[in-house]
């Protein structure tokens, strides 16, 4: 009883520490100041609305004022993270976007809709925060952007860039998929809270890096270790008691989805619905590596992911623990009767699986930014990956992750709209279930 109590405490502490630590750091973002270019009567809008003046501060006109940017789509997100409206800037660079309620709103710029051939420069924030306090279009915010001439890339160059970014996100998906497959192999449970374990890695990194000021590298290492501890704690406090009670797998799946919902909301409670950056390596100049241009952090992500995957795969193939894990995944009853401690094997799978998910979260946060639902979105890709490769197989997770990652990133250059590039992953998921439900590398007996 005592160890379970300790495990519960660890579980609670790991959940509460980031919440408490971050509540103090999430000070409200500064509200937008009224725009200097206030000519022209705003159009009539009943109810609260956001008015944005989008200007290009890298192109000044004769009087030294920034020039307005027309035809760009802006999306408004409310404090809960749901999209509440969008608008397109007119000739004067202005967009009036009605919103449902007053309160803090975030305006994002849709980079794809910028005029042909230009892109945002490195110093430009991708979003501004507006505090809607009045009804009508009087909540004005200026959104100055800087742009650089993007070279009109040749198809091949574009292909190369997207391929590299696909490999990068494919490796992150593969890491998370490996964790999911390990846990599935050992317990038979499809863990619907796995995405939240990915986000947990990002949250811990943010906590150590920004809140405690330890830097990204130390923070990332500590985050992976703490995620492993969380894996131990959740098996000890939640999953092992359920196994001992003989709870069915379907019931456990519903428990996992409840856990996922609760964790996701706790994250949102702690960090809000914004995307939050880490303190270091947020923008890095790309270096020319001969064939491709990469930032050093991208090189680091690829190398870390490859090394981690290789280490896990070799461990599973060569060590006694790996053998035991594969044995338990094949036949738990037989493993138990041949003297293996099935429970400790499953415990190891949970620790390793959660740590791998945490590592995926650390790399994902490093690559983009931290967001409370990044893990949940990644989980859909992970599902597609493990189904494609074969649920419960190690090489399948790796292969499926890479294919899904590369495919979703390459989609846009073949005409798939980039905001719904995930649709391809769903199509693959359904197609593979139709023609080869065990996945490319899976075995038949696992599926029926």
């Amino acid at each position: 009883m005592v160890p379970r109590f300790i495990a519960l405490l660890v579980l609670l502490a790991t959940l509460l520490i980031p919440t408490a630590a971050m509540a103090s750091t999430t000070s409200p973002a500064p509200t937008g100041s009224p725009s200097p270019t206030g000519e022209g009567a705003p159009p009539a809008v009943d109810g609260p609305a956001v008015t944005i003046n989008l200007t290009d501060r890298s192109n000044l006109d004769a009087e030294g004022n920034p020039t307005p940017v027309a035809g760009v789509t802006l999306t408004v997100v409310d404090a809960a993270g749901t999209e509440v409206g969008e608008g397109v800037t007119g000739e004067d660079g202005r967009a009036v976007i009605p919103v449902e309620e007053r309160g803090q709103h975030t305006v994002r710029i849709e980079e794809d809709t910028l005029p042909e051939g230009i892109s945002l420069d490195e110093d430009t924030p991708r979003e501004v925060t507006v505090n809607v306090i009045l009804d009508g279009p009087f909540n004005v915010a200026a959104f100055p952007i800087g742009v650089v001439e993007g070279e009109t890339d040749s198809f091949l160059a574009l292909f190369e860039v997207q391929l590299v970014s696909g490999i990068k996100s494919g490796l992150i998906i593969a890491l998370a998929a490996l964790g999911l497959s390990l846990i599935f192999g050992a317990t038979g449970l499809t863990n619907f809270a796995h995405g939240e374990l990915v986000t947990l890695g990002g949250i811990f990194t943010y906590m150590f890096d920004v809140t405690l000021g330890l830097g990204v590298i130390v923070g990332g290492i500590l985050a992976v270790i703490l995620c492993g501890a969380f894996g131990w704690a959740q098996d000890k406090a939640l999953w092992q008691p359920l196994r001992n009670r003989g709870t069915g797998l379907i019931a456990m799946m519903i428990v996992s989805i409840g856990l996922g919902l609760a964790l996701r909301s706790i994250y949102q409670y702690a960090i809000g619905s914004r995307r939050v950056p880490l303190s270091q390596y947020t923008t890095q100049q790309r270096q020319d590596f001969g064939i491709v241009e990469l930032a050093w952090k991208e090189v680091a992500i690829v190398v870390i992911a490859v090394v981690a995957i290789a280490v896990v795969c070799i461990t599973l193939m060569k060590t006694r623990m790996g053998k035991a894990m594969r044995a338990v995944s094949d036949n738990p009853a037989l493993s138990a009767s041949s003297g293996m401690r099935v429970d400790s094997v499953i415990r190891t799978a949970w620790i390793l699986g959660t740590a791998l998910a945490g590592l995926a979260g650390v790399l994902f946060t490093l690559n983009q930014q931290l967001n409370f639902q990044m893990g949940f979105k990644l989980l859909l890709m992970v599902f597609a990956a493990v189904t494609l490769g074969g649920l419960g197989t190690i090489w399948g997770a790796l292969f499926g992750g890479l294919v899904i990652g590369i495919m979703t990133e390459l989609g846009p250059i073949f005409g798939v709209p980039s905001s719904i590039k995930e649709v391809g992953a769903l199509a693959i998921l359904i197609l593979i279930l139709l023609i080869r439900p065990q996945g490319i590398l899976g075995r038949r007996e696992r599926i029926g």
């Binding site: 509540a23 999209e83 859909l380 696992r446």
Partner: protein
């Protein structure tokens, strides 16, 4: 704190249109999960295609309102076919994976910038509910002192409760028919039913289509009473609201989702109203470093998630269910 106000809000909500949408969705889940043992984690997707089926047909394609209603009823059945065909022969989690992924991706597609011409982007579609509003027979709203509904809400809850009544009657009739007995037998032991010569796959498909259709009706109802269809209304959380409601009342009971839905929405609205009172106004009762107004709206999600876990662990049969009847196992 104004307890009377909180209770009144919660009670109004518990029988109001939002609760009704949830109850109808949960009735659909009851057919799938409670009776047939199918794990549909994407009820929100079925609701979304129901709502968009109407909105797109009327607004984008300019068709008649009633053709739109027909499209709204057809769309979830088609979705069930597409998702069920590959997954229903496989273990339970494949259906769960396919439905949750489909629901999330449908929501992304409906809200995407690129499909704005058809689905209206994140602002959604509106201007299709005129016929529904014209049918409203009431002249004014109703005020019973403690609970009150506006004229539109009164019409919506009349329609909503009629739908609940009819679907419950349908489920009750179906589940005491031979068809329903086969369904329950499939939930208990699929192989046994197969050995009796029944086409298990087709029975499961029918259950998925029926449950999805009821889910689509929930979406249609929401689209009608709100007179606008926005993608953010159909987030994954709605599915798990419906699961929690179903599990509170008790799965595999005809009235389980109804009672569960009322209780769940009463508690959730009460909780929401309490925390919003605690955090609002100058000098709120809860200091803002613990919780501000935005965070107070998240408490309900945290509570729902934890409630779902605890219910499944400690009382999977809910209030009315029978534990023996719900010993579902997948592997």
């Amino acid at each position: 704190m104004d307890i009377g106000n909180i209770l009144s809000t919660a009670l109004t909500q518990a029988f109001g249109p939002s609760a009704l949408m949830l109850i109808i969705a949960a009735i659909g889940l009851n057919v799938q999960f409670g009776y047939a043992g199918l794990l549909n984690f994407g009820q929100a997707g079925f609701m979304a295609v129901g709502a968009y089926g109407l909105a797109v047909t009327v607004v984008t394609f300019g068709q008649n309102f009633w053709i739109g209603v027909l499209a709204a009823l057809a769309a979830p059945v088609v979705l069930a076919l597409v998702l069920g065909a590959p997954t229903l022969r496989l273990r339970a989690d494949y259906l769960a994976i396919a439905t949750i992924a489909a629901a999330e991706i449908l929501r992304l597609v409906f809200g995407a910038v690129e499909t704005k011409e058809v689905f209206g982007g994140s602002n959604g579609l509106n201007g299709y509910a005129g016929t529904f509003q014209d049918l409203n027979p009431y002249d004014a709203g109703i005020d019973l002192g403690f609970v009150s509904y506006s004229r539109n809400d009164l019409w919506a809850i009349t329609v909503g409760w009629t739908i609940v009544l009819l679907t419950c009657l349908l489920v009750w009739l179906l589940m005491r028919s031979p068809w329903g007995r086969v369904l329950k037998a499939i939930r208990e032991d699929e192989d046994a039913v197969r050995s009796l010569g029944k086409n298990v796959y087709w029975y499961k498909m029918q259950a998925l289509m029926l449950g999805g259709l009821i889910g689509g009706i929930a979406g249609l109802f929401h689209a009608l009473r709100q007179a606008s269809t926005v993608p953010s209304d159909f987030s994954t959380n709605i599915t798990f609201y419906a699961y929690t409601a179903l599990l509170i009342g008790g799965a595999a009971r005809v009235l389980g989702p109804v009672i569960g839905g009322i209780i769940f929405w009463f508690l959730l609205s009460g909780l929401g109203a309490t925390f919003s009172q605690l955090t609002s106004g100058p000098g709120p009762n809860l200091p803002t470093w613990i919780m501000d107004g935005t965070q107070s709206s998240l408490v309900r999600f945290i509570v729902t998630g934890i409630a779902l876990m605890l219910l499944m662990i400690y009382r999977p049969q809910g209030i009315f269910g029978d534990r023996r009847e719900l010993a579902i196992d997948g592997r």
